[in-house]
């Protein structure tokens, strides 16, 4: 086959990962002893398609491994085996194992063979004696693999009637067989019904195929890979190339294998060679994805058909409005101005709806990020000997894909923390008069233009004294400083801060919480902590819904238009000269109620020519970035609008004080102010000028 399989591989990997997720969640819901037939079927289907896909893409390791899993699942499905706790654990670790192999193949990393073998051994052990006749045992016989190659094969191929319906083409398979060696087939028309009774979609013919040439068995079985469940297939070595066609009589077959011990050994030789070949293939595969890994932006997205339908509807409406407007334009007079206005407002509505639905394509339900937690809680509670129940709500809350990808790790960290530090041991809970099982609750909902994710536990809560003591010990807080509760909890996000008495492999190293905060800030969000001693704590993450569009306030400074993100604006006000104070004749502060704000002259930071330099009656936009406030002096407030963020880095580089650019309605470019950056810049400016004064 000359089709480039690489192009389908990405889809295969994605689908397999999805399949693994399904397997995992079904397994977690499963209880020992009570095997739900549908659940088993689900897992079986997922495993089966992974196996098929892996074999197609030449990922023999994965295919072989999954095959064993599948065999075991099949026994469960047929009721030959009960599902035990051990089996569930084993299946779960196999899921991990397959996932590991997949990602190793994708990233071009080496696979931990020992680990895989260990799990495989476990699976084989569970499968028991039934496994013995599998080709696995023959691998051990490779010592005699030096025997000369087979010079031919006899294949007895009896398709089941329905085989053709699955899209398999016998002619194509035969053509491929013929490509391997000297091919001859004898057709058996015994089952062919009279023409009147014949269903043209059924397979009635059987074949006895002789294939001469130096061919490995694996090559033949690869061709039949897709039909092996839909036919009766026997692949037998030709003892002697001159042997007559042997009838597919089971007795005779036994004879052949008995007589021809060397034949058996010859069968054994191919796996070894195949392995070597696979290793080579994997090596080259490995090199390829490694290069691909550097361009992660080519990832794909799965979109629900309803969203696409919505889009098509809206485009339809847009086309209608457009044709209406162009008709109106053909012979226009002032009498029709009202209709024009109607048309334009229609167009505006269409555009807005279209924009919203296009943005919805990037939106995924947060369950994608939540799904990993049941497993994690399951594993961790076993490890820490705690009883924990995980509840989730608002899983269908939608979130931009990019935000989703970046929020995963911080969430994992927070949930781990809740389990490790928050929830107490069953004994401690009992002593405190609480139910033995602790509850960790994940909740997500929309609020304004934000998505709120809450991680809540009913554990011991944060220890105010302990955190404060630790902070004083580390010199973050002065001895007698009186800090409000929230400020103390914020200390948790300081780098290297941990109150865990014992460092466990779950948490307590103090790396992480600062990273959590940094990651969330990088997404333009923030994280808050609330805690009640003895009743538990809640971490609230607030994130913008999307990174691509932002609500902006347009401001003018001289000839330039800048956009300040609406989320960072606290208020705007006219400067009242009597509230302006100068500190040391240099730094200006503005007294706003009980707060003092540094005045940041935007024209100074950006080095542009303003309309006015005097503060009197100037416009001050009070902004907050990185939890630092400031007042930006601008010439004029223009209006508010949603802007699409364009990166400056695509063709240029990052510029301090700017978070990007956008294109305004008239086609010109306006720059988006990075509030935190500007606040930082203004300080540096002051420091610089101060230094200059000192130097002078």
């Amino acid at each position: 086959m000359s089709i480039d399989m690489e192009q389908f591989k990405v889809t295969f990997v994605e689908e397999s990962l999805e399949g693994l997720d399904i397997m995992e969640s079904v397994l977690l819901d499963m209880h020992p002893g009570a095997a739900d037939a549908e659940a088993i079927d689900n897992i079986f289907r997922a495993a089966h398609s992974i196996k098929g896909g892996a074999a197609t893409f030449g990922l023999g390791d994965i295919a072989n491994f999954t095959h064993v899993v599948e065999t075991l699942l099949d026994e469960v499905r047929n009721g030959d085996r009960d599902i035990t706790q051990d089996a569930i654990v084993l299946f779960l670790s196999s899921v991990d194992c397959i996932r590991e192999m997949l990602s190793a193949d994708q990233n071009g990393e080496a696979v931990d063979h020992a680990h895989i073998e260990q799990i495989k051994a476990g699976l084989d052990k569970m499968l028991g004696s039934k496994q013995e006749s599998e080709p696995d045992s023959s691998v051990s016989d490779t010592a005699a693999s030096t025997v000369t190659k087979e010079n031919g094969w006899k294949i007895i191929f009896k398709p089941f009637p329905g085989m053709l319906r699955t899209g398999n083409d016998v002619v194509r398979m035969f053509r491929e067989l013929a490509g391997l060696g000297d091919f001859s087939a004898v057709v058996d028309v015994e089952n062919l019904p009279p023409l009147v009774d014949m269903d043209p979609e059924e397979a009635y013919l059987n074949w006895h195929i002789t294939l001469n040439g130096e061919i490995e068995k694996s090559q033949i079985s690869e061709i039949f890979e897709w039909v092996e469940d839909d036919c009766e297939l026997e692949i037998l070595p030709l003892v002697d190339s001159n042997t007559e066609i042997v009838a597919a009589n089971s007795n005779e077959m036994d004879e052949i294998t008995e007589e021809g011990t060397p034949v058996d050994l010859q069968v054994a030789s191919p796996p070894l060679e195949r392995r070597a070949e696979e290793d080579r293939r994997q090596e080259s595969d490995r090199r390829q994805p490694a290069r691909k890994a550097s361009s992660p932006e080519s990832s794909s997205i799965r979109v629900g058909i309803d969203k696409v339908d919505d889009l098509i509807n809206m485009v339809g409406e847009l086309v209608i409005t457009q044709s209406m407007l162009s008709q109106l334009g053909e012979d226009f007079d002032m009498g029709r101005v009202e209709r024009l206005n109607d048309g334009l407002s229609e167009l505006e509505r269409n555009t807005r709806e279209l924009q919203e639905s296009v943005m919805r394509i990037r939106m995924l339900p947060i369950s994608f990020a939540f799904n990993r937690f049941p497993r994690m809680v399951h594993d961790l509670s076993a490890k820490l000997d705690k009883k924990i129940e995980l509840t989730m709500s608002g899983e269908q809350t939608e979130l931009d894909k990019t935000v989703m990808e970046k929020i995963g790790d911080p969430l994992v960290h927070l949930v781990r923390n809740s389990i490790d530090h928050g929830i107490e041991t069953p004994e401690a809970r009992k002593a405190a008069g609480k139910p033995e099982t602790g509850v960790v609750n994940l909740n997500a909902y929309h609020q304004g233009g934000n998505i709120i994710i809450e991680i809540n536990d009913d554990g011991a809560g944060l220890n105010y004294e302990k955190i404060l003591a630790k902070a004083i010990e580390r010199g973050l807080v002065g001895e007698n400083e009186d800090l409000p509760e929230e400020k103390v909890y914020e200390l948790l996000f300081e780098p290297g801060f941990s109150t865990a008495d014992v460092v466990s492999d779950v948490s307590g190293r103090g790396v992480g919480m600062d990273v959590v905060k940094r990651n969330i800030m990088a997404l333009g969000g923030r994280v808050d902590v609330k805690s009640v001693p003895g009743e538990g704590s809640t971490f609230t993450i607030r994130l913008p819904l999307t990174l691509a569009i932002l609500d902006g306030q347009l401001v003018r400074v001289g000839d330039n238009t800048y956009i300040i993100p609406l989320v960072s604006i606290v208020e705007s006000l006219l400067v009242d000269q009597k509230n302006v104070n100068e500190i040391a004749g240099k730094a200006e502060v503005y007294q706003l109620r009980s707060d003092y704000l540094p005045i940041i002259r935007l024209y100074e930071v950006f080095g542009v020519e303003p309309d006015r330099r005097s503060l009197d009656d100037g416009l001050l936009v009070v902004v907050e970035g990185d939890s630092k406030k400031g007042g930006l002096l601008v010439d004029e407030l223009l209006g508010q609008q949603q802007v699409v963020i364009k990166s400056l880095e695509t063709n240029f580089r990052r510029v301090e004080g700017l978070s990007g650019a956008t294109i305004l309605g008239d086609g010109t470019v306006a720059l988006i102010v990075d509030v935190a950056g500007v606040v930082r810049l203004s300080r540096e400016d002051e420091r610089c000028s101060n230094n200059q004064i000192v130097a002078a």
Binding site: N560, L648, T650, F652, R653, L658, A661, L681
Partner: protein
């Protein structure tokens, strides 16, 4: 040999001996050349949005069909005397490859005027002499004399990656 064959032969000859095509432009009376395959489009000078805290030769950014493209004034980049932009002033939009294998970028160069397109045979480009520290010849690919005019062939990848434009990226 009949005429048709003659022409075919000539075309063949042209194709073989052509080497590369260069677009040349005028800057302060000198003619400079860039690889024509890098040129995306040539457009008239239009107003730009200045970017704060960047060197003077970065005039700002423009909207090129939805992407933000930085515009560089080559006169100022070469520390030549700045002139008023006139009707002949053009912006050559170029694709700049990143030598480190990163993504290519699109940038615009403001020049005095566009001159011509030359076929430069292989070997016609001579290495630029070393001017010591007077002129940085790093971004000069070589010199070529085409129709009695000396053309300075620019290595735009070096020119537009060398300095400010990417320096900050490395620090971050």
């Amino acid at each position: 040999m009949d005429a048709a064959q003659n022409i075919a032969h000539e075309i063949q000859h042209d194709l073989e001996s052509d080497g590369e095509q260069f677009l040349t432009f005028i800057l302060a009376g000198e003619e400079y050349g860039v690889d024509i395959l890098r040129v995306q489009e040539i457009k008239g000078w239009d107003s730009v949005t200045p970017i704060p805290n960047t060197p003077e030769y970065i005039r700002g950014v423009i909207n090129l069909r939805g992407t933000i493209v930085p515009i560089i004034d080559l006169r100022r980049r070469f520390q030549l005397e700045a002139v008023e932009y006139g009707p002949m002033t053009v912006v050559i939009v170029l694709r700049v490859e990143n030598p480190d294998g990163g993504k290519s970028r699109v940038m615009g160069l403001v020049v005095d005027a566009v001159s011509d397109v030359y076929n430069v045979p292989e070997g016609a480009i001579k290495a630029a002499p070393d001017f010591g520290s007077v002129v940085d010849v790093n971004f000069v690919q070589g010199l070529a004399t085409l129709e009695d005019v000396m053309v300075i062939m620019l290595d735009i990848d070096r020119l537009l990656n060398a300095d400010e434009l990417s320096a900050v990226e490395h620090i971050i």
